[in-house]
Symmetry: C4
Subunit: 288 residues, 4 copies
């Protein structure tokens, strides 16, 4: 790798980007992962308690889908406009003389655009009734597959560790896309949705990790980008962030279940009490 | 790559092919992608409005399938004969002394043959009733998988960028084959069919892109085939052509839906009007 | 590759094996592929005509399965014993001092053993009723996956073309295993079974092709094992053998369908005649 | 590989680990593979004989699941604590100056943690009724996928044969995870569960093989870690251990079936005798 680097020149061997550029998408993915897991759990819990008490009709979730679409489109529009404003703007004509940085900016523009398509699909599916609802899942898997494709072609001529952290990003966004595609093919499965959300959470926290590795803030010692041991260490850190995503989603699940149950008690105490007894009986029966 | 190139000799380092040789399959794939998306949307829309008004019976689509098969077989026959006529013809005996160009021509001949098999399958399925209809999907996935296999073995000893653009061709034809195979395994799914059509559209437009990159027409400056930045730029262009395919199919969907609805209004206005009110009520109910 | 070859020594650079050693498995796979396709077509055709005339009960196919198992086990036993007899026998203790040829013989022994397991599974499933029938498909996919694994580790230190032809063998046996595994997971699908049979036929004819390439019989000029053009030529030949497998299976299908129909006519002419009229009516209706 | 090794230094070229460190996980995986196969077979056999005689209610299996979860969590806790106690303990803060051995220990800690999560999932699913039961399968596939990811990043800078044996470990744990994921997506399938168990058994015995290859106990001659022939020999040994796993599971199946039948005879002889006659009749009918 080093040999070919020398040919390309020193321009590429410097690390491109900055800490906020990786922290912002990290926050975005973490928030949207948290939101998707919340939505999935809420749907699941409401469906289970539907026969006892009215909460969370189909219309409510459709409206949430609509608002989610608006939010995603807004965020991607802000991203695209910000990219033009702060960076002088990418040229929209493919031209082979453009320098490296312009290409990187075009790649980000494309990323934003495909996530924007996901937002548009959310809006369309929640307003036009003739469009199949699974279009959202398809565009979601699409957006993440395109992301993994772009990041795969993002790291030509970089250092070993820089490539490795982006390869893991490719891995996690590919897995997210794959999960969304399996969801698109099969029927509703709460665990698949939560698995996808955990991958999105992992991606968010991994963006932060990349930021800390490549641009150590506040005078901390920089990582040696050519040391194999650091690759092994980062692969461990990747697994820990994955475990963290699991714990976040588990806590979220426990919290929402508790919230819905306590709300149900207040609104229609008699029915729930009746149900709970039945449930307890069933549980004790199954535990026997 | 350059080192091994020198051993093989300068004969291979020149770019083989010309602009029309990439523009023609581009047009073919774009037209057939457009046709397949039109057919899928038409089937979907007609199925939804079947209970209100007669339009698009099963027999009509079977006849369309038959005509499609005839068209595909004709085009591949023209391709095969043209290959023999204009190029002096490939020898049909595998012989290890044949020069490189003859091998390339044999590869194209094989490509045409497998697309011809797809046409034959269309004809057989629409005439012989004992053959399962999913044979068409199987032969379709087959043709695209064979295409990706051949293009994978198409680029030995070429320049970096030349290899990269053909690798993306391998990717898109492999994905098309994969989608067709999933369609073969699962039941009807309009979105899967449209996804496959969008991959075919992407392949068509990518053939044009390859033509412009490798054989810039009209005195435009040639691309540097050894520059890594061009790879990153072309990966962005690939995504944009993919987005373009989505937009084309979305426009097609909107146009056909509008067309069918307006035709239905003219032919049997009373029933449709009745239906529309019911639909509007349902929509307003769901949006509530 | 050449550089590392020099280190290992000239012992490995000579091509190991002979023409009959590749022709025999070729015949075996071709015969079993033909038999499997015949069985699948027969089952399919008999199932369609079940309501008109008695032919091909479940018991008959179970007995065929039993006989197939016996045949496969016998053939693998002959192979294993022949390997011991003609070659002095592999040592059954893993020992790191064994020369290269002994390893190759152990690999063939393992191959035979797993195909023997497939035969045993056929026998067990057709005699013991408590074992699920899909075990046959599982062991079949197993045998082909193990074959692809072994051939993947079969070619260390060989010439480029020698490696390439074995890589294609890995590809086709992996695809056969994959098809058998999909059959194991899904319900009956005649086209999947025929696709698997066509891969087995392809494997059989590809063994012959390997024999002709590596050990040209009768004084024909040998192939240059280091020429890239030969790789491209052989990839074309691979596709043609695949097309040949399709044509063989298509002819087989037409022949069996014709045979079953002509037999049905003789045995119970009145009913079939009645049925045929109904079918013709249906066909003309669908073609309308 | 050797060239890059020299750069990293001689520290990495020595083989890290010892025989017990590979024998212990080997025993663990062998025992758990045996237990999982026993559980699957028991469930399958009990389900078939449910209509004749009471044995193995749902509650019993739920309690077994609970005990299994407790056992797994206990074992992983022992592993984690032992790792801290005997090795001085890994530092829990990601820091780029840590030496290689600390990273390896962190990797093992992560492995144990994810298998602990599997145990926790088993406990949760058998106590809290609102959690879907397929969570166990999901966490199982998760644990094995994470294991394959970690072992993939485990072997930087080692010798060829050392890398190869760990690559096969990656392969088998990836396949185990894949099988568990397919089980998670599809409904109950006894053969899939047994296939997964056989992969776990294979992994257990392969750990022993790794121990014997890298740390030959008792003065046996060490393996040449740079010889290609050894790779081919070990790939054969891998297949034989796989065949061994099949034989173990087959014997287990025969033993449990015999045990359940003989127990049923004692407990409720009349009914079983009646059933057996019916079965024999059916069998003779099917064999006819």
């Amino acid at each position: 790798m080093n040999g070919s680097e020398d040919k390309i020149g020193p321009k590429h061997s410097e690390v491109i980007g900055d800490f906020p550029g990786h922290a912002l998408p990290g926050v975005f993915f973490f928030v949207i992962g948290l939101w998707w897991s919340t939505k999935s759990i809420l749907k699941y819990v409401c469906k289970k308690h539907k026969q006892t008490c009215y909460l969370g009709s189909k219309a409510l979730f459709q409206r949430l889908e609509f608002l989610e679409g608006i939010a995603v489109v807004t965020m991607t529009l802000i991203g695209i406009i910000g990219l033009q404003f702060f960076a002088g703007g990418p040229h929209l004509i493919i031209h082979n003389e453009s320098p490296w940085k312009r290409v990187l900016r075009l790649q980000h523009l494309t990323l934003y655009f495909f996530f924007g398509l996901l937002g548009v699909a959310s809006i369309l599916c929640s307003t036009v009734s003739s469009i199949p609802v699974s279009l959202i899942k398809l565009m979601m898997s699409n957006a993440f597959f395109v992301e993994s494709f772009i990041f795969y072609n993002h790291t030509h001529g970089r250092e070993m560790l820089d490539i490795f952290v982006h390869q893991l990003l490719v891995l996690v966004s590919f897995l997210t896309g794959l999960m969304a595609f399996i969801e698109f093919l099969t029927q509703k499965n709460i665990l698949l949705e939560l698995l996808r959300s955990s991958f999105v959470l992992l991606q968010g926290s991994w963006f932060w990790q990349i930021g800390f590795v490549l641009f150590p803030p506040g005078g901390r010692t920089a990582w040696d980008l050519l040391d194999h041991d650091n690759i092994m260490l980062l692969s461990v850190g990747f697994c820990w962030l994955y475990a963290l995503a699991f714990i976040v989603i588990g806590a979220n699940y426990a919290f929402i279940t508790w919230l819905v149950k306590s709300r149900l008690k207040k609104q229609c105490p008699s029915e729930v009490g009746l149900l709970k007894n039945v449930e307890q009986e069933q549980e004790s029966e199954e535990e026997m």
